[in-house]
């Protein structure tokens, strides 16, 4: 098994690591793409949001200014008219009280209204008194003028109290300008007190401090704010630069931002203030409040916009990193679990490579890896089966080859012996051939001798017959002797019976003697006579015993003698029989010799003929044997080659066994 553990990039040495790296790369790419997209979207969104906010805020501020100005101006003008009406009412009261005359009172009212200071409203606005018919009774410029034909005057005379806005073009002016008037009607004199002012001068009429305070509270982001600038570049409201004229200010790029705003009147502009660097650049939404010729703007610093994005970016990166680490750990664990069977398979594969086929991968699930494990097990099992069969076959082969080798060697050895033996036979046959030839010569000599022997044998045969007859006579008489002796033996046996009876009597007598003696002893003195009787009986018994003893001895002697006699006679008979048989044999022998000698002569010729035939046969046999010897020599050579071949086969079987033995097999079914 190749050791790949030290090869390749360290990151790619294991499947787990590969998967982790791959996963990390994918994760990073995915997350980075996602983050970038998200940040881009976020940035746009934030910008858009901020832009919207700026729009809204600017609109709101414009509306706020408008509302404030309008309401303030309205209240101011009405208030001025009311206050003047109050003075008029005072003077009327004085008139009515008689303190002053009506003309005096009217005069005072006119002086009040036309006061060069008190009668001014704003820069060019003024107070006036208009009667119910629309005649300008009191007017700084055109007193007594009839303005009833003007639409606004019709409205005013109709209203008599309140607020009115209208456009007015003074004589010599080409463009009508927006004006507004506050009214308060003094009915006794039918006089509408009129306080008017050009809208463009409203800002001058107002106390803008609360508006300023409101605007100053507006914060967009950390540093962003709202401002109001007039058409000449004067900052009417600004958190830090109020009253400054910025018409000629330009930012770090050389942009005259104030002029741009006045020129464009509405839009978005990006600039940095004089003295600020590029990083302080801001985004400003501005719009023109035409009535008052004001530029209302709200700005937010890019720093504020980007700050959120930066936080989001930082958060995204950190969270992505954390997610990457956690995901990697989980991936590692999961992959480790999944690749465990693969690791086991790898180990088993190593073992199989080293020859151990006994192991198997445990299968604990049903997924693809488990299927692979099962297949792996099957493969190893099949290999094991093959190796087992191979082992068995190699053993059998080895044994067969061994036997073949041994038997080949034996055959070779036997063949060698056979070859040697055949060679000996050949040599012997050659000798026999020579011998046969010499025998033929001898036979002729024998034939002559046989004829002369025949006459002698016939004479001998006659003599033997005579002897035999005599032997028969002797045997007959011997048998008679033996019968006589046996009869004697039987008679002696019958004597033994008598002797035994006598023995029994002797024993009984002895017992009687004992008893008699006992009785005599028991009887004491009275038994003395009986003692004598007992003694005599005892003596009788003793002598009987002695006599029977002697009889026994004698009979024994007779028996021994007759036994000897019988034995001797039987031996004699045997000898006679043997003699008879010998004579019989002798006669037979003579007869045989005679017939043999007759045959001999005739046979001699036949033998000579046979011998010559035999010689011929011997020569043929010899030839055949020589051929056999050659054949055996060839066979020996062949078997030697076979032995050699068997030896090679044995070596092969050996090496095969050696190879197969390196494999270890288990006990799987």
């Amino acid at each position: 098994m190749k050791d790949t553990s030290g090869k390749g990039n360290i990151l790619f040495r294991s499947l787990n690591r590969k998967i982790q790296v791959l996963f990390a790369v994918i994760f990073i790419l995915a997350v980075a793409g996602l983050q970038l997209g998200m940040f881009a979207t976020l940035q746009k969104g934030i910008e858009h949001k901020y832009t919207q906010e700026l729009d809204q805020t600017t609109s709101l501020i414009v509306e706020l200014v408008r509302t404030y100005v309008n309401s303030s101006v309205r209240n101011y003008l009405i208030g001025r008219a009311e206050s003047v009406k109050g003075m008029v009412a005072f003077y009327y009261t004085q008139f009515r009280e008689g303190k002053i005359t009506e003309a005096e009172a009217r005069k005072r009212v006119s002086d009040l209204i036309l006061d060069p200071v008190g009668g001014k409203v704003g820069a060019t606005g003024y107070l006036a008194g208009v009667n119910g018919k629309g005649v300008l009774e009191i007017h700084p410029k055109t007193p007594g003028a009839d303005a009833s034909g003007h639409e606004f005057m019709k409205k005013a005379t109709a209203m008599k109290n309140g607020y009115l806005e209208y456009d007015w073009k003074n004589t010599g002016e080409t463009v009508a300008r927006a004006k507004a008037g506050g009214m308060s009607y003094f009915e006794p004199w039918d006089l509408i007190i009129w306080a008017s002012s050009y809208k463009s001068e409203f800002f001058n009429l107002l106390d803008l401090s609360s508006l300023e305070a409101t605007l100053q509270n507006i914060r967009i982001g950390k540093r962003g704010y709202a401002f109001v600038m007039d058409g000449k570049g004067n900052l009417l409201m600004h958190p830090t630069m109020k009253g400054k004229n910025i018409l000629d200010d330009k930012d770090d790029r050389g942009v005259y931002y104030a002029r741009q705003m006045i020129e464009l009147q509405d839009g978005l502009i990006s600039y940095s203030l004089v003295g600020e660097s590029a990083k302080d650049r801001s985004l400003t939404r501005f719009t023109r409040y035409a009535d008052l010729d004001l530029i209302v703007g709200t700005k937010v610093y890019y720093e504020d916009i980007n700050g959120l994005l930066t936080s989001a970016l930082r958060f995204g990166i950190i969270s992505a990193l954390i997610a990457l680490v956690v995901a990697n750990i989980l991936v590692y664990l999961l992959v480790s679990r999944l690749t465990k069977p693969i690791t086991l398979m790898r180990r088993l594969a190593d073992a199989v490579a080293l020859g151990d086929l006994s192991g198997r991968v445990p299968v604990q699930s049903t997924d693809e890896i488990a299927t692979m494990a099962i297949n792996f097990n099957d493969l190893v099992g099949a290999m094991e089966g093959i190796v087992t069969r191979l082992k068995s076959s190699s053993s059998e082969l080895f044994m067969a080859v061994q036997e073949l080798s041994v038997s080949s060697q034996e055959i070779t050895s036997t063949s060698n012996q056979q070859a040697a033996a055949v060679k000996e036979i050949v040599s012997t046959m050659e000798d026999s051939d020579q011998l046969s030839k010499s025998i033929a010569g001898r036979i002729r000599e024998v034939s002559a001798i046989a004829n002369s022997t025949k006459a002698v044998v016939e004479q001998g045969d006659r003599k033997v017959s005579l002897i035999l007859d005599k032997m028969r006579e002797i045997r007959t008489s011997n048998d008679g002797t033996i019968r006589g002796i046996k009869t004697l033996g039987e008679k002696i046996n019958s004597i033994w019976d008598i002797v035994n009876i006598i023995n029994g009597i002797a024993d009984q007598t002895k017992i009687i003697a004992f008893n008699a003696e006992l009785e005599a002893a028991a009887a004491g003195p009275a038994g003395k006579n009986f003692q004598i009787v007992a003694a005599e009986i005892r003596r009788l018994a003793d002598s009987t015993v002695v006599s029977t003893g002697e009889i026994k001895n004698k009979i024994n002697e007779i028996q021994h003698s007759s036994d000897h006699l019988i034995i001797a006679s039987e031996e004699g008979t045997t000898r006679i029989q043997e003699g008879g048989s010998i004579s019989e044999e002798l006669r037979n022998m003579f007869g045989d010799i005679r017939s043999s000698s007759e045959i001999s002569a005739a046979s001699a010729e036949k033998i000579a003929l046979s011998i010559s035939q035999q010689v011929t046969a011997f020569e043929q046999i010899l030839l055949t044997l020589r051929q056999i010897s050659e054949g055996i020599d060839n066979f020996v050579a062949t078997t030697k080659a076979t032995v050699k071949f068997a030896g090679s086969l044995k070596e092969m079987a050996n090496s095969m066994q050696g190879i197969v033995q390196t494999y270890k097999v288990g006990t799987h079914g």
Partner: protein, 169 residues
């Protein structure tokens, strides 16, 4: 008085006391039956033997120890047969020679292999083989016969064995 002494002696001799001894002169003689049991010889005092019989049938009886072979009939009376071979050597006696004992208290016969002789020996040839009080088993003394010492069978010991085994007095 000399006559009284003589009468006393005669009376004494005639009373049959010590009739197992025979006094001849100054010597006292004892009579023994010498019997063969298997391959050994034993002496039995003649006075305890009533008769000697051979080749009579033994009638087997159960419920008895193995050395009791049964009964023999002696004049119509049953006599217990004690096989001396079994008693002494734990081997059955094949022969049938019986020493019928002369006992008042029982009817016993010893089965032996052979009856050799009756001997009369002087008392001086009878030797005790145990110390006084010692139990010699079936033999209390021996008798010198030529060069041979033959044990004398103590009949009482045999009777005692019988009584112990059967639980009879």
């Amino acid at each position: 008085m000399a006559e009284d002494g003589l009468v006393a002696k005669i009376r004494e001799a005639g009373a049959g006391k010590d009739s197992d001894k025979v006094q001849e002169g100054e010597l006292i003689f004892h009579k023994f039956i010498i019997a063969g049991v298997l391959n050994k010889r034993y002496a039995i005092p003649a006075t305890v033997i009533r008769e000697i019989v051979i080749d009579v049938p033994i009638h087997y009886v159960p419920f008895v120890p193995p050395y009791i072979r049964g009964f023999i009939n002696r004049h119509g009376e049953p006599f217990t047969v004690v096989d001396m071979g079994v008693l002494f050597e734990q081997e059955e006696t094949k022969e049938r020679a019986f020493l019928v004992l002369n006992l008042d208290s029982d009817q016993l016969a010893f089965l032996v292999s052979d009856i050799h002789e009756i001997v009369k020996v002087p008392e001086t040839d009878v030797y005790p083989i145990t110390e006084k009080g010692e139990d010699g088993g079936y033999f209390s003394s021996s008798v010198r016969l030529g060069t041979e010492d033959v044990f004398i069978v103590a009949v009482e010991a045999v009777r005692k064995r019988l009584a112990d085994d059967l639980g009879t007095p």
